[in-house]
């Protein structure tokens, strides 16, 4: 979505994304890994997990994030080996605006 700003530059509404890998498919299970995309910038967050902004998926929902992808449970249905990394939730929320020269 774009809108006109006073300076005749287009303002683009960009999407924020949050990747949370949890220990289980429960919204309250502990987060094992995180990556966040805000204002078009990728960040892994702090090294120390205790300092991450969300310790479970529900924390993120309560902060305005919406789930757009639930974990792929088919990956867990083979008892002979472990596939992938935990249970991946991908969330989104409305991000900010960036200006694009017209």
């Amino acid at each position: 979505m774009s809108v006109k700003s006073n300076s005749d530059n287009r303002k683009l509404h960009i999407q924020d994304l949050l990747y949370l890998n949890a220990t289980a498919n429960s919204l309250t299970s502990e987060v094992l890994a995180m990556r966040i995309v805000e204002n078009g910038e990728i960040s892994d967050g702090p090294d120390n997990a205790d300092d991450w902004p969300y310790q479970c998926v529900l924390d993120a929902i309560r902060d305005g994030w919406h789930i757009i992808k639930f974990p792929e449970l088919a990956l867990t249905m083979d008892e002979s080996r472990t596939y992938g990394f935990g249970f991946e939730f991908i969330l989104t929320r409305n991000g900010g605006y960036i200006e694009e020269n017209s």
């Binding site: 502990e30 892994d44 992938g84 990394f85 935990g86």
Partner: protein, 291 residues
Amino acid sequence: MVLGLSSYLREMEVILRKTHDCQPTLNDSEVLNFCKNGFLSLESVVDPNINQMTLDYLNSGSQRSEPTDILDEDWFLDAVIKNPQAAGAIRSLLGKDFGLPILMSSHRTQTPQSSQDWHIDGNSKFGPQLNYLQVFYLPQECTREMGPTELIPGSHFMFTHRDAINSLGSVRNSYYAVAPAGSIIITHYAIWHRRSSSSVESIRENLKYNYWRSVEPNRDWLIDPDFDVNTADYTSQHPTYREQFRDAKDVAEMYLWLRGEHDKFRSVGGQGWPLPGTRNDIPYGIPKGIN
């Protein structure tokens, strides 16, 4: 299917022309810890003069991603590749007469940089077998600010496509290979890793090379008479990144493979061996013939 060494040698036509032997330095508990983590770090095992000679060598001439000719330098071969502590650990894990590296990679990086994507190195194989090891040598100190290699403990048991884990970011309890100059880090080839983010100006040097197994696995490392395979703790540090107790099964299977007893490995399920627990007797389900 798990390939034993005979299959590995026969089917792959592996011919090891450059081999080395020495005394093993790891005991049962240390071998078991390698199985759990998929890596071990030996700090400051290379002489400072050799570290400087290595840096001088790499800084001379054109800088290449594969400075393999350093392997032809006797001083480097003796002090780094055949370093007693490192070679002793390699000997413990790969057995006698292990194949020496014939390819050298340089992961020299001008920092600061953002982190690399998480990945496994191409052509990784997953399973209990350990027929080769990937090793990193740090000729200079690597601080957290310089972007050390970051590893996920136990991830060598977790099957993935090399490029399917690029969206991972910070990982709870990952291991940053912060280490003083002269350190050597021995890893399972399939360990998930990346160059971590760096925040200072530096040139971070990191050499990478592989060793190869040439004999059937056998428990010929340092035997700890108090180590009991029936009651050993096969569990990994929290979080294990896997289903509950899966870590114990993975680790026990790899440990038995290294002992040359993979054919005896089995898990009866439930609370049986190799699961942890405060029992008043040895666990049920111990495979026959191991002790």
